[in-house]
Amino acid sequence: MKILVCFKAAPNVEMLLDEDWVVDKKLLIDTSFVRNDLSAHDESALEMALQLSDASRDLGMHVELNALTVDGPGATPILKTLSALRFATAVRIEPGADFLFQPTAVASIISQYIRLHAPPDVVLFGSQSDIGENAKTPLLTAEMLGWLCITRATRIVPTDEEHMTVTHQVDDGHARETVRVPCVISVGDAPCTYLRKPTLRDRLSYGKKPIAVLAEEDFQLPEETETLMDLEILRHERDAAIIAGESPAAKAKVLYEDYLKPLLSRP
């Protein structure tokens, strides 16, 4: 079985200071000086692909893992890590513009890439990117490919060469379904899916493989149907009163007497 995982690196914006949050004329926020991480849900998708591969091996089935991102060179370290984790291919498509808020363009590039190259059986996504938060790319890709789609998966177990059992979040609960491939699966909040680290030996043996880079010009772009008009920075300040004291017990006492007790004793 062949699996393609689509991911997007994202600057860790929790590291920005208040004064760093500035919107420029092109409606961009400069985040270039903070570390690039994987989007939270994409990290889970990559780890779930690795777990799926492990579980398939135990059943005597072979799984080939591939990774794809439409992103600038900033994504290269992540692609190298994925090579070291034995992804068969790690491909980057260089975007001509910033596609943060253009999920239709990204989905279109991904679906064209899938059609052009040997199509995978399963395409895995995160359910939303950290910065764009569009929550649309996997759904649009499924529609463009005409494939079926399962959203917000929390667990994927191989069944046979043509089926897998997917547990996924739905309103007010989960559903566990046996689905047939090919399909698109987006990953939700899945426990135990922090991305594993490659061994030093695998880094040296596999992590040095060159990353394939394709140009966006090789793909046709559709018209976007939504346009970003404005960004407004949200600031949450409540001016906390700091409780001082000599010990945790002293501070807890002030907290209880001055704040908790009066509120808790109200009917």
Binding site: L139, C149, H174, E177, M229, H236, K251
Partner: protein, 324 residues
Amino acid sequence: MKFKCILNGCAPNVKARAEELNSFIGTYLGNAALTGSTILFYANQEDRPALHDLVPTKSVELVRVGGYQPEIILDALKCTEDKEDTFLYLFPSGVVGAELAVRWAFRKNGSSLVHVEQMTLEKGGLMAVKKAYADHVRATFRLDRQPFCISLAKGSVERVPITGRENLQIIEHDLSGLNGDGFVRDTQWIPAEQARDLTGAKLLIVGGRGLETRENIRQLKEMAGAMGAEFGISRPVALNAWEPMHRLIGVSGTIARPEICIAAGISGAAAFYAGIEKSKLIIAINTDPQARIVKAADVAIIDDCMAVMDELTKIFMFDCTEQA
């Protein structure tokens, strides 16, 4: 001009979503010269009588399906909406609403936006507001192509009860024969563990990655129990599977509105903070005075959270026995 609400009556908590839509319509479409109706999907005949109370518009199409599956619902919508000139489809918050909005817009050659908090109608277009940049930013988008399909953000509006359903116009469809192309071989529904309603909790105690171990999280939960408080967790704690996902607080979990919230060992990332910002009093306990949560709280203690919480529980218990 016509707008339509799409509701998945197969989910147990559809009432809350219907009341959200009711509130959203009242706020953003109340005065416009629009006619609205609802398409309500349901699977069980026993649920049928109670469905009227879930309709936030003056008319409804009740559509019986085999069960919730997006492929089935999209096929069913194709049947009911084929000849309709609806310009706006409103989907509720939650997983299903967001999924259907995007896919339905694609199939209707329209435009979509999910997790929408506010909207305004403009000539020929629709402006809608949602969060971006890991919830640090409010982004406004213009949707250009009709039909506009939007799904609501969780907790963006206060729910408004639905009343006066006596003269509801009803059309019925039975599409229980649709099978979604046999993509799914078998389905097992796993209801959420009875998640407590944190909306009105008096005291909510939330533990984060600063607690460092499963054992500390367990102890904090016990302390919360002793104090009669509700207990929640941040995403890293849930990802470590130290507590089940339904205790997650934040945009991906519960948007709580407690009177008092104690955030212990939590940095206060925007995506988490959205889940507690409606608290009347926010108390942060953190070893780092620079942590974002310290600024965003009303009261803060800079110290080890387990030590403080341990003392706080003792004081609370002592006071309770004194009073008794």
